[in-house]
């Protein structure tokens, strides 16, 4: 058993709603005076009545887990699940309300890249300053200076004030400092969102290297590709509670919600934005001839969609937008228009040819829309994550090459035609 570097022991964090300081002494005295007279607080914001005064909110509730050397843990969860709070507690930015966190060795937290950088100072001065903020002493920084500068790829600008840097250069320098801190636990929160792809890749391999060399990495990201690449363990947080601790794959499935590759799904209960789904609503979807929504290249996906219409619409279309695993739209396709009557429940069986889509993981976004090609479209209903599916790679189809999504994108074009010139 490898050595334990981090123990989270029954940690809870509570925030108070409504009681957070009014901002001025005058307001607070006002509130206090109103309270002792049993009157309504004059400083309560209108429209916030439902937040009872002094109401408690648990951002984290009784979370426990351990991290050993060599672990690369992905902390997954939807927005507001408590991931960031957890990282803040571990990096000592705020104190827990209950429980205890025990750390062996040094923690380097990259909650935001380049914290403590001063725009007027040169890159080199900032390396010293940032290193010291992260807990390195001067001698240590001097020893690692060459390595840091090399890693950052900005040798020629190292004596320029960082205010003249591009945001990419900024990130590169900041990550370089943190990565060379030799932390026992490294904490990363979505910091790789900036910087070019090649550098992202470099950072990821640096972090894997940190994990492999017997230290621990705690990683938070919504980018599932980087998560799979880096992490060997997944923790899923839901509404402040730890609901799963185990493999990355399972944690990612939990994170993806019920949309994560289920052959059948009730769409009626999926939350919509704004007024979508009021006049027309997708009710359920059923995929055919598949167990895990894994398709080979150039095959065809088949599903049945059931919807209800509360109004009549002569020109309704089902529109399907294909997104890659980080929710970037890739392509769009839609059905021919068809007519629906008011209060009709209709079911359509749809074939989606997957020709030309590169191997990888995708998310289907689906809408019910109406509209003529040149007129305005009306969106009746939209679900952003109807389902995930995977297209498996088959090098035989692609002249023996293994598809690299990062370098080649998500679309596979027809082979080039060539003749003797």
């Amino acid at each position: 058993m490898s050595e334990r570097v981090l123990e989270i022991d029954g940690v809870s964090k509570q925030y108070r709603l409504g009681m957070i300081g009014g901002g001025t002494l005058h307001d607070d005295l006002n509130s206090w005076f109103a309270r002792i007279r049993g009157k309504e607080d004059p400083n309560t914001k209108i429209g916030k009545e439902h937040i009872a005064f002094n109401q408690k909110f648990w951002a984290l509730k009784d979370v426990s887990f351990n991290v050993d050397r060599g672990d690369a843990v992905a902390l997954l969860g939807r927005n507001g699940a408590g991931k960031s709070t957890m990282l803040k507690l571990i990096s000592r930015i705020t104190a827990p309300t209950e429980g205890e966190i025990r750390i062996r060795g040094r923690v380097a937290s990259l909650l935001e890249i380049g914290t403590g950088f001063h725009p007027e100072l040169s890159g080199r001065d900032n390396i010293y300053l940032n290193g010291a903020i992260l807990g390195m002493n001067r001698a240590e920084t001097t020893r690692k200076m060459k390595e840091i500068v090399e890693f950052s790829e900005i040798e020629q600008f190292i004596d320029t004030p960082v205010k003249r840097y591009s945001s990419g250069m900024y990130v590169k320098l900041a990550f370089a400092v943190a990565a060379h801190l030799d932390p026992d636990v490294m904490i990363c929160d979505e910091v790789l969102a900036v910087g070019d792809l090649a550098f992202q890749q470099k950072c990821l391999s640096k972090m894997s290297e940190i994990a492999r060399s017997g230290r621990a990495v705690l990683y938070v990201s919504h980018n599932m590709r980087t998560v799979t690449q880096l992490c060997n363990r997944g923790i899923f947080l839901d509404a402040g509670k730890l609901t799963y601790d185990g493999t990355v794959e399972r944690a990612m499935e939990l994170y993806g919600g019920s949309s994560a590759r289920s052959v059948q799904r009730n769409l009626d209960e999926v939350p919509r934005t704004k007024d979508r789904g009021d006049t027309m609503r997708m009710l359920s979807i059923q995929f055919h001839n598949t167990q895990a929504l894994e398709y080979t290249m150039d095959s065809t996906m088949e599903f049945t969609l059931t919807c209800v219409a509360h109004i009549a619409e002569p020109r309704l279309r089902i529109r399907l937008i294909l997104q890659n695993s980080i929710a970037t739209p890739i392509a769009m396709t839609q059905t021919e228009p068809f007519e629906v009557a008011a209060d009709e429940t209709f079911t359509r069986r749809i074939k989606f040819p997957l020709k030309g889509i590169a191997p990888g993981e995708y998310v289907i976004k689906m809408s019910l829309i109406s509209g003529t090609p040149r007129g305005r479209s009306t969106y009746y209903d939209t679900i952003v994550d109807v389902s995930r599916f995977v297209i498996t790679d088959d090098p035989a189809i692609n002249s023996g090459f293994i598809w690299s999504e990062r370098l080649w994108g998500n679309e596979r074009l027809e082979p080039l035609e060539m003749e003797q010139g």
């Binding site: 990096s91 000592r92 930015i93 705020t94 937290s109 007027e120 300053l129 010291a132």
Partner: protein, 290 residues
Amino acid sequence: MQDSRKKSDWDTVIRPRKGWFDIDFKGLVRYRDLIWLMVKRNFTVLYKQTILGPAWVVIQPLLTTLVFTVVFGNLAGLPTDGVPKFLFYMAGNIMWQYFSQCLTRTAETFTKNSRLFGKVYFPRLVMPFSTVLTQMINFAVQYALFIVMVVIYANKPGSGVAPNWQLILLTPLMLVQLGILGLGFGIIISALTTKYRDLAMLVSFGVHLWMYGTPVTYSTSMIADKYPQLLGVYMLNPITPIIELFRAAYLGVPRYSYGYNLQSVIVTVLVFLVGVVLFSRTEKTFMDTV
């Protein structure tokens, strides 16, 4: 099996905020490099893109002293204990500037650094300490100028300037005390401003008013002459005995009882302790309220 290792084996244990005296002095020593880098940063940044650069350190007190000399010395004709007006005001002025700068700058600790504090941990006391060190260096420059002036005047016959060498040896102690006093008041305010922003407003003019309660533009002997019964109250202001001692050391004005200095030291220690306790309490959870 590592589980058999003792609990004390952990390097860091993070617990809910409990005690009042949960202060991380060890961390402060470990981060001493950061204190110096912050001092260096403060300097570099202060004079980037200025024409006169570090000259401001001496221009500012010289001009203020000149104004004091003209307004209070010549126009109002306040007595200056028999020493040259310019020197008298300069002594009070550089000491007061040092103190007030320490106070106002450390008072901004949490509000100015909230972004940084929200993203990375280091002992928060690093910031106020580096601020005071920065001010100490600023003071050193002004002090050098002051010494030059003292030497010039002391060699002029009949100027009345008579440095007291034994008292001059106490200068470092006076500086440390004044710095700690400024830091103490500053961090108390910084801790309170995380909750009440209007205190920041109070600081700027409060310090200004405080100056008139301190013998900067006049001498304590005037108080002693006009309101002898109030001298005890007047001396409760912990800055007063320090400035008077400073003047006694370099200019040779009459010295007041050391009892007042002792009293001032006690106040300093108390203010510092209260400040550190409040500050350490605030640093753990201020991110939840800012």
